[in-house]
Symmetry: C2
Subunit: 122 residues, 2 copies
DNA sequence: ACAGAAATGAGAATCATTCCTAAAGAGGTG
DNA sequence: CACCTCTTTAGGAATGATTCTCATTTCTGT
């Protein structure tokens, strides 16, 4: 495991949000000024592939990465862009009960107005 | 409504799959050889925005378009790429019951091995 | 210390999608 | 029909996230 990998992994682990590759890149750059975007993308890609992190896809914006690999879903606020974790515990079994196919994975993304923005807007 | 719009709309309506913009473009080109990609994208984008069609997002591939606007979800086969409609009728209310926020929309995409590919693989 | 394997940095390449602009088209009015 | 205005189009350039390439650097095992 290289120094770059350690930094990327630690930064994601420490993050309370669901950062993009670019956000992690700028953070990493503070510790290792000549780290490259390619390295950040490559490592995040590998970690996602091996399952030690999760890659999140939201329409019209760059992918985000999630340190939490325990199955859960996400809601994104259309006003502030904040992404929050959502627990829909029975969803997986509900899908499996409904469909008669092998489910490999699924991604549920909810567009909402978060509580903070909801209060402000009033 | 222009001729281009009519063609795009009709082709999507006739389609049994969930075509991409490019697939619709090549189909449209058979009827109107100098229609442009920009026109296809622009019209699909407008229709999706006004809600008369639905835009589907799958990781790592171009967006697909769905003529069916009735709320439903999608499963994509990781072997053949086929996209099928899935009815999970109680999902919306389940999400709304669980979260205490205004849900504007959501997208659930399931990765699976479809029945056809499952049979073949045995 | 040294050979071979793996990872990096820098930047080029890719590819879906959007944007730009001059030209063409549609609609309304007299 | 002729004129004007607003909208849409075709074609191509621009964008932006991501991946790829490859020469160089770093790691690993002996």
């Amino acid at each position: 495991m290289t120094k770059q990998q350690q930094i990327i992994r630690r930064l994601l682990e420490q993050s309370e949000t669901h950062p993009t590759a670019e956000e992690l890149y700028w953070e990493a750059k503070k510790e290792m000024p000549n780290i490259s975007m390619g390295t950040v993308y490559r490592n995040l890609g590998q970690m996602a592939e091996e399952g030690s992190i999760v890659r999140l896809h939201f329409p019209g914006q760059p992918d985000h990465y999630d340190k939490t690999i325990h199955p859960h879903d996400h809601a994104i606020c259309v006003k502030c862009g904040a992404i929050s974790d959502v627990e829909l515990s029975s969803l997986k079994s509900m899908i499996e009960d409904t469909l008669s196919v092998d489910i490999l994975s699924y991604e549920l993304n909810i567009q909402c107005v978060c509580n903070a923005c909801q209060s402000k807007a009033s």
